[in-house]
Amino acid sequence: MLPERPIISRPERQSLGQQITSGTIASIAWAIWLAIWAPFLSVVFWLLGFHITYTSIIRAPNKSSLLFILLLVLVCNIVVSSWASYNYIRFLGKSKRRGSDPVPHKEVGRFFAVTDAATLKLLLRERRINLYFDDAGGLVRAESLKTKQARKTKPTGPGKKPKKAEDDEKQLEESLVG
């Protein structure tokens, strides 16, 4: 049975360099983090930093006042929630556009310039295939590793004999040739 949560946690496998780098980064980040909290921390350490609280919060520039930020947060909420609700009501369970029919294999093959039914069948059925490309990324040859029988992507002749369930094969043959 495979584990449901395949988590890897092996801190002991870090190199000394990695441990030192991580420790340094974390320390710097914590220092910056605490520094940006100085105005709020200073409320706790009132005597030590009254002027920071005073200048940063009470006398903060008007535009950055708490009220303005709260207003911004409120606007974000109204805009995002309204648009989300509009989308939800307008599109839930409704499709404004039609879906598309599945693309036949032959069509897909044509897109990739594989027009030969036998090659297409090889690509759809064989389990181990070698693919060869030209410099422009065009598929030039497909080769089944089982049979080692090479197929050029241009039409060359009849396909191989069906191997799997006959009905399935017949259907596939028809879709590729028809």
Partner: protein, 413 residues
């Protein structure tokens, strides 16, 4: 004057975004998540269609056995697995060939040369016997019920082109690993939920996403010349009016970098991917028919502007410490305390909300939060640095250059 304007934007943009994500995520939770069935009891369908599970692999010899073991255990009635060995130089090909004898549902496509992930996905779509594709990375472990959750959306929503799942970080040995646990829960999960309620998603997660093949066919499948094929396909599907969804119950356990270099490279690639998509599709998006994508585009453009303004704020603030600055360029120090305290409070609130919403998917994640409570600030700084470097890179890149694999850092094992 200009300095003050910069500082205000540098402060109000992340504040506005953080609160928008919080309210969007809460809305999603209340409307779609709170009363939904639990992860192990996905909704039922009368008939489950055949699904193709696709795993592109490049040098994944160490991981692919575990990946395929999880795929083979999917609680889903009818599926095939297509693994792509994309010109691997290790034993990936041999391992995959061997596994075809173990798992009858497994099929393997071998590329003789490295063609890139997008080409792997394209060929898998060509070789697929199904209309529904579930794509994961070669080192990702798909939760047993994830396929049902993803396919359910694709079957019940005829205009759903893709569904993205919920990646969870496996490796939590180091500080960087734990940081990313917090990031995926408190930031990425929140953003995806908010974007889902607002109607458009910036990107599906390339590491776990379900697709409708006919939708991919209409937009021309994955592009082979974009560094992040997931952002590109998400934008193109939505530009073609396909709906993209987020399904938090579709879990996928992933490995992330645990070195600074690895993390930087990965995030730089992500940032470059966004910039490449913006560069390529900007013109197509500025039309009335594409108006629903405007918020996504606007958010992206503002995030780029913000990144450069932040750099300006830092530079002006630091200069101001040593050189007398003209009044109009004056910035009151690089770490203004009032702004910082407000952003700090927002971070704590964001973490509390995400801990509450996320607890049903990953109980252990909340243990990490106390140690990394400052992470949202680091997230914004990392975003700033990667954007500043990635945008010029993306705009100077020659179009049509094939994006091929680079093996990422996968952390401590």
């Amino acid at each position: 004057m200009l300095g003050r304007l910069f500082l205000d934007f540098a402060f109000y943009y992340p504040l506005t975004m953080a609160w928008s994500w919080i309210f969007g995520a809460v809305n999603y939770y209340l409307r779609r998540e709170r009363n939904s069935p639990t992860r192990t009891h996905p909704p039922e369908l009368d008939e489950w269609p055949k699904a193709t599970l696709i795993v592109p692999c490049h040098n994944e010899g160490e991981n692919v056995r575990e990946t395929l073991a999880y795929l083979a255990e999917q609680d889903y009635p009818d599926f095939e697995i297509i693994a792509i060995n994309d010109g691997s130089r290790d034993n990936t090909g041999a391992v995959l060939d061997e596994l075809t004898t173990v798992y009858p549902r497994l099929r393997v496509l071998h590329f003789t040369k490295n063609q890139g992930k997008a080409m792997g996905l394209r060929m898998a779509a060509l070789a697929s016997n199904s209309e529904f594709l579930v794509c994961i990375d070669g080192d990702a472990l798909l939760d047993r019920y994830a396929t049902r959750w993803l396919i359910w959306h694709l079957v019940t929503g005829p205009r759903v082109g893709a569904v993205t799942g919920n990646p969870r970080i496996r490796n939590r040995s180091s500080l960087l690993g734990r940081l990313q646990v917090g990031e995926f829960s408190s930031i990425i999960g929140l953003i995806k939920r908010a974007q889902r309620t607002l109607g458009r998603i910036f990107t599906v997660s390339g590491v776990i996403a379900g697709f409708r093949r006919s939708a991919l066919h209409q937009v021309g499948y994955w592009s082979t010349d974009m560094v992040t094929e997931d952002i590109d396909i998400s934008w193109r599907l939505q530009m073609d009016h396909w709906d993209l969804r987020y399904e938090p119950n579709a879990l996928c356990w992933i490995l992330m970098p645990e070195t600074l270099k690895g993390l930087w490279k990965q995030r730089l690639r992500w940032a470059q991917g966004g910039a490449e998509a913006a560069r390529r599709y900007m013109r197509n998006l500025l039309i009335w028919r594409a108006r629903r994508m405007w918020p996504v585009l606007l958010e992206y453009v503002l995030s780029v502007v913000w990144a450069y303004i932040m750099v300006a704020v830092f530079v002006l603030g630091l200069l101001g410490l040593f050189v007398p600055m003209p009044h109009w360029l004056h910035v009151p120090g690089p770490f203004p305390t009032w702004y910082g305290a407000v952003l700090g409070s927002t971070c704590i609130f964001q973490f509390m909300i995400s801990m509450f919403i996320d607890r049903r998917y990953d109980e252990q994640a909340s243990r990490q939060f106390l140690f990394i409570i400052w992470y949202p600030l680091a997230f914004w700084l990392l975003g700033m640095c990667t954007t500043v470097v990635a945008v010029p890179k993306a705009f100077m890149k020659r179009t049509g250059t094939r994006a091929v694999w680079e093996s990422p850092d996968r952390g401590i094992r």
